[in-house]
Symmetry: D3
Subunit: 246 residues, 6 copies
């Protein structure tokens, strides 16, 4: 089975790192196709960046119509463009924040999120509210580490994340950590060892969820709000992405 | 004072209709600058369209940096790109759904929303939840009228909306109607007369809110999540929209 | 247009200060009529005082039937008697807490309230819940400054409020401050300068909201819970305030 | 033990009926002192009436300082003035809506409220939200029976209430009925027989709760928001009710 | 009237202490029948213990069918088996956490819970959510005192609870304390004296609530989810507890 | 990898059917070990039955300590004993309701639950609230089909379930169906074909989730509320199940 992993930012290096993490999580027989948009920000660190990232996800989902992936993963913790991709595709589409919250809520009564820029905590908190994890998520904590500095992550940065996680566990009375950035995926194993509690990387959970739903034959429902987009004229740059009847 | 009104779709005719409704609401001395994105869907009728519309709002907000509008209105009922625009601009930015819900909650103990495509009800319901109006909004109702058919709205379409509103008032025990599409703004006066209850058009309320906040000197806070975007490289089409230090 | 501003306590000095703040916020052409009840507490600092203040608002709203103000503002942060006034009058009626929360939620992702007596924090917290701002309001903080001591506000008191606001911004990760007492209105400009974030005074926002709703022709819905009171015999002191058919 | 039962309206006949229902619920050895305010509406059927009723409760609670009742019951389903009375008195103060919701939630997984005027449903729904019974209360239903017509309740009115209750049980999948008006107390037994499910009259539950809390020595906490009112000057009619230090 | 008090653990000493506390709370004429299951844990300090405790409550409720108690109290703060007992019996069944939260919410605007093992805080927090007291309960605090060490409670343990309560009152801005364990019932009076705020022991409140509901003739509704269990074959140990038609 | 599937009732036939459904969902290389308690009800159709079922799950989880399954599934829609099993075991433990809600919320914006006895709807609704799916789950519907009649499911019963599902989709504006009973697992494929929307059987999703979490090395956190039970004496029947230090 082929799983599409969309990195909503345009950093090819991060796309590669996410592809790597996805392949490590995937079962034998699963092929990971990792892409990023042809336009937009090198990293997503706020609402403005995210608006472009969501359109970038729509672009990539539209392109994937040609081969209809068995499942699709949106690999940025704000889950940008998640519902746009659900409309565009038939296979299930999974956001990494959504998947991480679900997994965390099954292995711990309460969890904390450790993320990058403090200014994005509001985005994560809104997803907690939207998905309904307000009783399980006990705190979202910024470290003010730039997303791209995770690409070649020095020991001090790891130590800073570990430290934020320890403080969160104590202050929030939590017993698991959710990593609040796709760029943190490669640190998951190391942090698990150091912290002694479950550390959840949404990328790998979302890949497994995608394999699972696809294996069970569960598709995105086309009977309601996630029906295919209505056929429509798009103007300007976006002209090729207007939906045409199938 | 100059107020920017962004129509997130690319229909110039709808931009003009929204501009007209905005000017009717504006105080003497207020200049309305109505724009739409250079790219994207002719109308927004689902999540896929909305992803492009949000990027389009980001584009227009970025362009408006040059003249810093006193206030900005996002004139599509899903409030796409609202927070992106808040990051980009200093003046207050108001979504028409947000403004309509606020106004409705002051003139009625409960209100109902009447919107276009049923498949977008979920978008409006999510905004109700996000903004905190779950106790005041008693129902969101689709009419399956296409957004663009509102541009030159025939009597049958008006009658259909009126009928949906009457049913909503009775079924939901509501006492006001919120129009769930910027394209319905021109119908507000007529429906008010026919229904005998307050009918709220978010475009005009948002224009007044914008004038009000600007007059009071209230700007978007730059101390937290709505701080200016971080300076960043953007690739592809979106290259000009990467933020640069001011 | 004539806007009625009801100060629910009986301090004529505070009524005058509120009138002054209202006039500064009002547009040219708006006349502010500021009143207070003929009976009740000199300041409202708890539930017992508030019960009398609400009846006082009902008295003043009843008296204003004679001239039907274009809009009415209830100028006490607990919004006492708000719905009573909505029943009594046709024009829109706006509470200053409600208006302040709405404005704050548009200029900041999270805000904190700084109020007077700690014992009234529960009243403000209840309004936060009632109006649906639990995700935007991140804290309500008392300063234990007596309401009447704001009338002739010495520098130490200003400093105390500024200090409480700074602590709230940091502790709550907020980016705007709502002033939790009509008596703080005159301090709004000074605190804005000192704190560098939006400081919202509900009195001035409510006046602008009132002008706006009135300009748009939006009245209180008489179709539901805010219909005029039922005609009824009142006994004792309150005899003149029983409703008679119009 | 002496229990004060305050009828917030000024109908002496209803005060007497409530006194009667209270005495039937009370244990031997409990004396019921039933009063009503010296001013205000003959019945409470909306927000305007309720504002006066709350001040009337404050008046009666102030007068009761002289003898400090063992417990106090506020006998109107909107629980007007409840917190004002809690500030004024040392013994526990119980609202009949609050007590009825509590009792109903222990004898049924879901209950419905049947009340008088439809326009007051919003008041009851707000109490449901405020007290936290949104998962247990499955509906609030108006009958548009005038409160005072319950005083000498003809068989047709009983039948109308019974009918509304039956419909509510079926439509809401409820298994108990809460009577939404103190004036319905005398009908409780009859409706219980006819409906075959628990029918809860808040007056009798509140009397029992008052006896219980008093017997256990539980007083209103004076350490927080229900501390005695601050000493204060009151003007006009209300002059005698300004708090003076004890 | 005979009230059944079920201690869900198997400590006969604790059953006796709970019986004693119940008798002190009961009115003259009320007979307390205190029992514990024939199987299961000596104390309940987590989810695993609680699962057995709930079955133990079901056992005892089944046995009580023979004499149908006027009311039944489940005397463990997690309210284990509460709804099972409601199905089995006709008289009202009251959980001590539920009763304690209700009483606390009437004597204080906010309360805190002080309990035994920190690991059980999640159980109490879940009940707060389930019963709807999230706005009144401001914190649940563990002391890591073992339940059985309360049986013969030394002064240091009392001091430790008192200390935790003082901290909770200050940190949570609470004005009452709920004791989060049936084993703390004997300390209620002493802690009330020392803390100067209402201290609520759920056992005694639940006994009074039981007497009250029984006196008012309120039974568990048999029309809905609390109808008698369906007749059914039970296997193994539990064979005698399968329901047979009455 | 070996996955334990616990059927909380004592019907060997249903355990076998659940084992069969689990094996169909499992990946090659996964071994399903399906068990049921040695005691308790033949089917779970209410709170009383469920209390015994939860203890039965605790029994089976305790027995599985010997071989520590890679993951464990609780195969009854009320998720009885879920947290008890989480305390007892190291591998992840997944409830079928929890897993079904999670999967449904990823393939549809709104879903409905179709279950067996109407009297158990409250149990499912409570799980919806507890897990945080109140915005995604739009209705829980009973069919009053007895659980054991699903074992050898005649066409009329299938038709009845299909009919209830169709009504739910229309009435709730849902676009997916969750099967509210482990005994319905064998009907999942057929109903998917007939209804044309995703039909989710929690048993198969939970098996995939278990495989996924185990493959990712995610265990139940032993740092908080799901730590191993405290060592403790158990009496009577349950004596062997008291925890002893590992």
């Amino acid at each position: 089975m082929k799983i599409l992993v969309i990195n909503p930012n345009t950093s090819a290096a991060m796309t590669e790192a996410i592809a790597q993490a996805s392949r490590e999580a995937a079962s034998p027989g699963t092929e990971i196709v990792a892409v990023n948009p042809s336009f937009g920000p090198l990293s997503i660190e706020g609402h403005f960046d995210e608006a472009w990232g969501a359109a970038g996800v729509a672009e990539q989902a539209h392109l994937a119509r040609a081969w209809q992936p068995a499942a699709t993963v949106i690999a940025c913790f704000g889950d940008p463009g998640l519902n746009a991709a659900r409309e565009a595709l038939r296979g299930p589409v999974i956001g990494i924040a959504e998947a991480a919250f679900q997994a965390a809520s099954m292995v711990a009564e309460g969890f904390s999120v450790v993320t990058t820029m403090t200014r994005t905590c509001g985005i994560a908190e809104h997803l907690v509210q939207r998905y309904g994890f307000e009783h399980q998520c006990r705190g979202v904590h910024g470290t003010d580490i730039a997303v791209l500095s995770l690409e070649d992550c020095p020991p001090e940065t790891v130590a800073q994340i570990e430290d934020a996680a320890r403080q969160a566990l104590a202050r929030d009375r939590s017993s698991a950590i959710v990593l609040g950035c796709a760029g943190m995926a490669p640190l998951c194993r190391l942090l698990t060892q150091r912290l002694g509690v479950p550390v959840i990387d949404g990328v790998s959970v979302a890949v497994k969820w995608g394999e699972s739903l696809a294996a069970l034959g569960l598709h995105t429902s086309k009977a309601g709000d996630y029906a295919h987009p209505l056929p429509k004229t798009y103007l300007g740059w976006a002209k090729p992405y207007g939906w045409s009847s199938e």
